[in-house]
Every structure is written in C-alpha cells, then in structure tokens.
C-alpha cells in the first residue's frame, strides 16, 4: 500500500505529467467555454428570431455613401449595389487613408525626428513642443478638433477659398482639385513608366556592383531621373498625350441652388477624409519622430568618429554609416506605428468618413442586424492587414539586419 501510494505521489509530482495534466485542463476549459458561449448565442439568436448566415451579402443596400475612392471604384449606387460592394468600398477607403497616412506621416515624422537632434535650437524646440503636445492628446480629440473646429469654419457651399493658385478650391463641402481623365493609350504610357522604373532598379544594381569592385559607381542621381523621364515622356508623346485634366468649376451666378462647385468637374476630397488624414498623419508623425530620434541616438558616437577618421564627409557619414544602423533599430517600432495608423483609421467612424468600421460595422450593421457575421468580417480584415504588414516588415527587417559572421 505504501509503495503504491509513493508511486502515485511520484507520478503526480512528475513535472511532465503535471504539464500534460495542466494542458488537458486548459483545453477542456476552453472547449467548455466555447461550447457555453455558442450555446448561449444560438439560444439568444433563436429567441430574437435571427439566424446565422452570410446571405445578406448579396442583398442590395439602401443608404447613401459620400463620394470617395471606394464608391468611385465600385460604382456605388443606392438600391443596386450589394453589401459585398459596401464591404469592399470600406476596405478601399481604409487602405486609401492608411497608404496616404503612412507616406505623409513618415515624411513629417522623419523630418521632425531629425529636427529634434538639430544643433539649431529653434528647430529643436519647435520639434519638441510638437512631439509633446501631439503625443499627449487623444487622437479622437484631435480628429474632432480638425473636423469641427478647423474644417467646420470653412466658407459655406456657395463660396470658396482658392488654393494652389486657383487650380483648386476649398469650402465646407471639401477640397476640389483637378482630376485626371485617362484617354485610350494611357495604359501604354503607364507600362513605359513601369519598364523605366524596373530598368532603373537594374542600373542601380549594376552601379552597386561596379562600386563594390572598382570604387566608382555611376552618377545615379542623374541617370535614373533622366531614364524615367525620357522613356515615359517619349511614350506620352507617341501616344498623342492621352491624359486630360478636368478642373473644378465654381459658379457664383445663376440659380442659387446651383451655385458653388459643380459635381461633374474635377474631383473632391470630402472634409471627413481631410480631417482623418490630417489627424492621423500629425498624430502618428509625433510617434515616428520619437522612434527616429531614439534610433539615431542609439548609434554609438564611435561609429561617427570612426567614419570621420577614415575621411568620410558628414553627409556621407550620415547616409552610409549612421542611417543604415539606425534603421535596424527604427524599423520594428516603425512597423507597429504603421499598423497603429491603419487600425486608428477606424476612428473615422466618429465623423462618418465611409471606411470599413464606419459603413460596414456601423451603418450596414444597423440595417441588416447581423452582428456576429459582420463584426467577424471586419475583425478578420484588420487581422489580415496586420499579418501581411508584419510579414512584409519582417522580411524587410531580415534584409537589413546585421549579418554576423
């Protein structure tokens, strides 16, 4: 008996057995809670007379969406377009904001980050104040500020504020800009442009190789622009200039309800989009600036000194010695800032810019009432975007990582 119980004690005190036992416990708890949640959900849905299913995706939607890239791409029409269209319009508008925001925020963020390290105190303090104020005020508040307090006091729909030397106009209905009209044959011009870009990449590679072997590369600063401009330009001329522009048309005569900007000329950036873009860009730029500063500071001073002592000039030192090393530190947090920007674009729901959360998990959900399916679709979309970005940035990070021998 005592031997037996000792064996038992040894058995249950064996860490491998405990690990397995614990994991079995976790799995059964998980299975039980999932079952419990599903059971509750099904009962609740039944009581409310609802059922699960994605049939609503082919139904037509009956609400207006303001003119944006998404509605233009998917030819949105009330009563004709389906909820699938709405889903893709939302994704398009989210990605539009994300891409524009990432580009602009990187430019501002890198500028401000380098400004904070400048030995010019005016630039330094300006950048410091910017970063501290932007980072310590909630994004949603900044969004409201731009939308209600700044864009809300623009001239009304019957008047305008000229911008870009009269090429565009700004009033409370949005920013009106010239719009390109692509004629037949523009595809070939675009093809020529793509070919010249690929050729430039190849030239850059050859130049790098030559530089590594002989110490003398090509003058890339001259060659690449010349290549791209000439090839694209020649194609443009040959095709007979297949690109026209329509300019925004502003009327302040005629019937009062037809005054203001005409809807068929030029293109419009709705004020919601401007506000979201401004708020997201400036907010994220504040964080990127801090990341850039920390990255540059983290490159040890000895690297700069060593570079000077082998005779490199300050500009070259920055470009070839400091920045490549700083980038390794900067990229991982920068990635998460880019992802944050993409996720934060969902705050646009607060001012009804038609992005994914706003039109699909907001307006469409109120119409259809399929909570589980729609929120599942929205969350999966963001997860997919996050995963793709992470994979891409991990790949990029692996490329620039220190190769240790």
């Amino acid at each position: 008996m005592s031997i037996n119980s000792n064996n038992l004690s040894a058995f249950i005190n064996d860490s491998r057995v405990r690990n397995i036992g614990f994991q079995v416990l976790i799995i059964s708890a998980l299975v039980f809670s999932v079952w419990w949640l599903m059971d509750n959900t099904l009962t609740n849905l039944e009581n409310r007379g609802k059922s699960l299913g994605f049939g609503f995706l082919v139904q037509t939607a009956g609400f207006e969406i303001s003119d944006t890239l998404g509605t233009w791409l998917f030819d949105y029409e009330v009563g004709v377009s389906s909820y699938t269209d709405i889903f893709f319009i939302g994704i398009t508008n989210t990605l539009l904001i994300a891409v524009l925001g990432i580009i602009l925020a990187s430019i501002i963020g890198f500028t401000v980050g380098i400004m904070r390290l400048s030995n010019n105190f005016i630039l330094k303090y300006f950048a410091t104040v910017y970063v501290e104020v932007i980072r310590n005020v909630p994004l949603l508040l900044q969004l409201f500020f731009w939308y209600f307090a700044v864009l809300g006091v623009l001239p009304d729909a019957r008047s305008q504020l000229q911008v870009f030397g009269g090429l565009g106009g700004l009033n409370i209905t949005g920013l009106y800009l010239p719009a390109p009209v692509f004629q037949t044959g523009f595809g070939l011009v675009f093809l020529a442009f793509s070919v010249s870009v690929i050729a430039s990449i190849i030239v850059a590679h050859i130049s790098k190789k030559k530089q590594d072997e002989t110490g003398q590369g090509f003058k890339l600063v001259l060659i690449i622009p010349a290549l791209i401009i000439s090839v694209t330009g020649i194609a443009y001329v040959i095709m007979g200039g297949p690109l026209d522009w329509t300019f925004p048309e502003f009327k302040n005569t005629g019937p009062i309800f037809k005054r203001g900007f005409q809807s068929d000329a030029g293109m419009v950036l709705v004020p919601e989009m401007l506000a979201v873009l401004l708020a997201l860009t400036l907010y994220t730029a504040g964080f990127i600036a801090e990341i850039v500063r920390a990255g540059i500071v983290a490159v040890s001073r000895g690297q700069t000194e060593a570079s000077y002592s082998v005779g490199l000039r300050p500009g070259v030192t920055l470009r070839l010695i400091v920045i490549p090393q700083a980038m390794r530190i900067i990229i991982p947090p920068l990635t998460s800032q880019y992802l944050n920007l993409t996720k934060n674009s969902s705050l646009a729901v607060a001012i009804a810019y038609p992005e994914l959360v706003s039109i699909f998990a907001g307006t469409a959900l109120n119409q259809v009432g399929k909570e589980i399916e729609m929120i599942f679709m929205v969350m999966s979309t963001y997860l997919v975007i996050s995963l793709i970005t992470s994979f891409f940035m991990n790949w990029f990070n692996a490329r620039v990582k220190i190769v240790e021998r």
């Binding site: 004690s9 998980l30 501290e132 909630p138 996050s386």
Partner: protein
C-alpha cells in the same frame, strides 16, 4: 636624466593668468553661435552654402510659423478671450456684431463662460447633483492613496498599496453606485459553507490526514475555497444597504467615466498581462499557443471594433437573464485589449532577464511560481516600467473611444455640451475641445514625466 642649465633658459615660476574663453564661445554669443548660427553660417564651399541657406530658410519658416501660431494661441486663449458673462446673456456673450452680439466682427477667440458653465457636466456627467460628494470623496481618497504610493519618503507604503488594491475598489464601488445590489442570501450562505468545507479539506490534506493525493492538491483546494468565500463576501458587502441613493452607471459621465475606465483598465491589465506574458513564454505548447493567439488577436484589431463587439456581441454571448450594462461591457473590451498590449511589454522585460537568473532560481530548488514571483518578475517589471507607463498613457487616451459607443466620457460630455443651443456660437466647439485637450495633456504629460523620472532613477541604481 640630463642636466639643465637653468641660467640660459627662461623658466616660468608663476602660473600664467587664465585667459577668458574667446568671446564667440562663451556667454550669450557663444550659446547662440553653438545653437543657432553654427548650422546656418557655413559658406566655405558650394555644398555648405546650399546647406546653410536651406537651413536658414527652414529656420526662418519654422520660427515664423511657430511664433505666429503661438501668438495666435495666446491671443485665442487669454488675450482676446471672453472670460465672464456677468449679465447672464449666455451665447450672445460670444457673438460678434454681425451675429447679433457686441464683439467686433474680426473677433475669434475662446468663449470661457461656456466652459465654466459646463464644468460640472464635464466632471461628473449627468450624476445627480445632491450626490456629487460621493464622487468627490472617492476621487480624493484615490488621489491621496496614489500620492502616498508615489512619494517614497512616506511610511507604510506597502500597507497603503494593499489597501488601494483591496479595500479602495470596494469603497469606491459602493460610494459610486450606492451599493444595495441584489443578492441571494441563501445561495451566498451555501457557497460560504462550501468554501469553508474546502478550506478545511485543504488544511487536513496539508497535514497528510487524507492520504497522499489530497496532500498534493491541498493548496489548490484551499485556494478555491478562499476564492469562493471572498467572492461571496464581496457580494454580501455590495448588497448591504448603506442608505445611499442608488445611482446607475447610465448616470455617470465626464471625467468620472474616463477615470473609471482608465483606472480599471490599468489595474486589471497589468496582472492579466503578466499571466499572458508568462503563458506565451511557457514550455507548455498548448498554453503558449493559446496565449500567442489571444495576444496577437487583440493587438491586430482596432479598439473601436473591440468596443463595437463588446457592445453588440456580449449580450448575445451571455445566458438569458444575465445583463451587463453599457459601462461594464466597455470595461470588458478595454481590459482584454489593454491586457494584450501589456503582455507584450512584460514579455520584453522577461526576455531581457539573463538566463542565469532562471537557472539560479531553479538550482535553489524554487518551484516555477516561486521563482517567477521572487526572482524573475520583480526584475522584469522594474526593467519595463517606462513601457508599462507608456501603455497606461495609451490606455488613458484610448478611453475617449468609449464615447463612440454612447458613453459620456470627458470627450463625449464635451461633445454633447456643444449641442447646447443656449450657448451656440462659432467658437463653442473649439473652446471646449481646447479645454478637454488641456486636461488630457496634464494627465498624460504628468505620467510621461513620472516615467522619465523613474527611468533615470533606475538607470542610476543599475549602474552601481
């Protein structure tokens, strides 16, 4: 040693007088040279001139923008602002002549009487006027406790910390809601008896009176017993009618909701995050996988969609008859979301701990939990204090998002104050947003300064 002939060479016997530094390197001139002109006065080569001119242009541009904007802000907030409304004319106090008021037509500045009139609403929301003292007492108690914890010279800090984490939430909840929640005394009594029985079994098991199996699980049985009793006693405490008028969470608002959401999120996310981080680094594949999925899921989706999910899907998940109010649902969303972010911060700290620490703890014969609690976590958490505070700041700012699902937090209260037509004027929105932004700035900036202070202190103590 060679011999020197001292007569033929001059040897200085007195120290030379110390000369002042060159004029352009000291004083204001030197400072300006180092911090301003150095970057814009180099014209030694073509490239340097181009760079200097570009810098000069940029500097002038930035200072122009900076000074005009600063002046504009000063003018807007202080100099031109309307400060009082002695005659009680409300919105007309902030109207220009063409709008029907008395101010000059080019006037554009803050309308503070509007903000003053809304102060109470911004702080408490629609909380009943006669009961505001309860919110104040809760706030003051919390403030006192936090200051006690932050100032290192004060005694009994450990005791205060324990009280802040145990007694304070109970007091706060009773004060804010009024207590007197429904309770089933028979059920509670039964559960307490079960709890007592479990503790007894645990105790007996510890002494080996119930066989080997029971002695091995004694501590777990005891723990379950204690949790049951604590939970039921809390339920009973909340059900006591202390004579306060009940105030539903629907009547909470303003800074009160912001602080409740932020503080609950902060307090819950830390322990949850620690558990998740440990799980993600555990050597049990199932625990590791589940924790990783959990963390990456919440980090991959926006908080807004989490809050939408919490507000529309939690009612579907719960069995019939169980009902969470809106605030509770938002709290659950915020907790899960911030726990995932906290887990990643804590994981960073765990990874920074030297492997030797883990091995030493194991060599001492400590169990997993003992080594975590006494060796690893104290070091890991101190290491990532700045990261933790940054997560807190992020969480504090993110609480504004609850206004989108219909809770009146500070920002939501500000937004609904704008809807008050009796104060309607073109500067109404901007005035209240500036004020709310200022409050958020004070909180967040304060936290970030504290984090920098702690970071400096820790890096000093580490460099010993």
């Amino acid at each position: 040693m060679t011999q020197h002939s001292h007569d033929s060479v001059f040897v200085r016997t007195v120290d030379a007088e110390t000369l002042p530094p060159p004029q352009n390197q000291s004083g204001i001139r030197g400072w300006l040279w180092r911090n301003l002109f150095y970057s814009v006065m180099d014209y030694s080569s073509v490239g340097a001139s181009v760079r200097s001119l570009a810098m000069l242009f940029f500097t002038v541009l930035v200072s122009y923008v900076g000074i005009t904007q600063l002046w504009y802000l000063l003018d807007f907030v202080f100099l031109s602002a309307v400060w009082s409304d002695p005659t009680g004319i409300k919105r007309e106090a902030c109207w220009t002549v063409s709008q029907g008021g008395t101010l000059p037509d080019d006037w554009h500045a803050a309308c503070w009487p509007f903000v003053f009139a809304k102060l109470k609403f911004l702080a408490y929301g629609p909380y009943p006027m006669d009961e505001l003292w309860r919110v104040n007492v809760t706030g003051l108690l919390g403030l006192a406790g936090i200051f006690w914890l932050l100032i290192e010279a004060l005694p009994f800090r450990r005791l205060v910390g324990v009280l802040m984490l145990t007694a304070y939430p109970v007091i706060a909840l009773i004060l804010l809601t009024g207590g007197a929640s429904d309770a089933n005394y028979v059920n509670s009594g039964a559960y307490i008896l079960v709890g007592l029985a479990l503790i007894t079994v645990g105790r007996l098991g510890q002494r080996g009176l119930l066989g080997v199996l029971a002695s091995d699980f004694a501590s777990i049985i005891g723990f379950v017993g204690w949790s049951l009793i604590v939970y039921q006693v809390l339920m009973l405490i909340f059900s006591v009618d202390v004579g306060l008028e009940p105030v539903g969470t629907g009547d909470w608002g303003g800074l009160l909701i912001t602080l409740v959401v932020a503080v609950t999120g902060i307090v819950v996310s830390l322990p949850l995050g620690v558990v998740l981080a440990l799980g993600r680094r555990s050597n049990m594949p199932v625990a590791r996988l589940l924790c990783t999925i959990f963390i990456e899921f919440w980090r991959g989706v926006p908080l807004i969609s989490v809050l939408f999910m919490a507000s529309v899907m939690i009612p579907l998940f719960l069995p019939e008859g169980v009902n969470f109010d809106k605030l509770m649902r938002a709290l659950i969303g915020v907790m899960l979301f911030s726990a995932a972010y906290m887990a990643e911060v804590v994981r960073g700290g765990l990874q920074a701990i030297d492997k030797g620490q883990y091995e030493a703890a194991e060599a001492m014969g400590l169990t997993y939990w003992q080594s975590m609690r006494q060796i690893i976590l104290p070091q890991a958490l101190t290491h990532v204090i700045p990261g933790i505070v940054n997560t807190f700041i992020g969480l504090f700012k993110d609480t504004t998002l609850v206004s989108i699902i219909g809770l009146f937090d500070l920002l939501g209260a500000g937004k609904s104050a704008i809807a008050d037509a009796s104060w309607s004027s073109p500067v109404q929105a901007i005035s209240i947003y500036l004020f709310v932004a200022f409050i958020f700035f004070v909180f967040c900036f304060g936290m970030s300064r504290y984090s920098i202070f702690m970071e400096n202190k820790l890096s000093k103590s580490r460099s010993h």
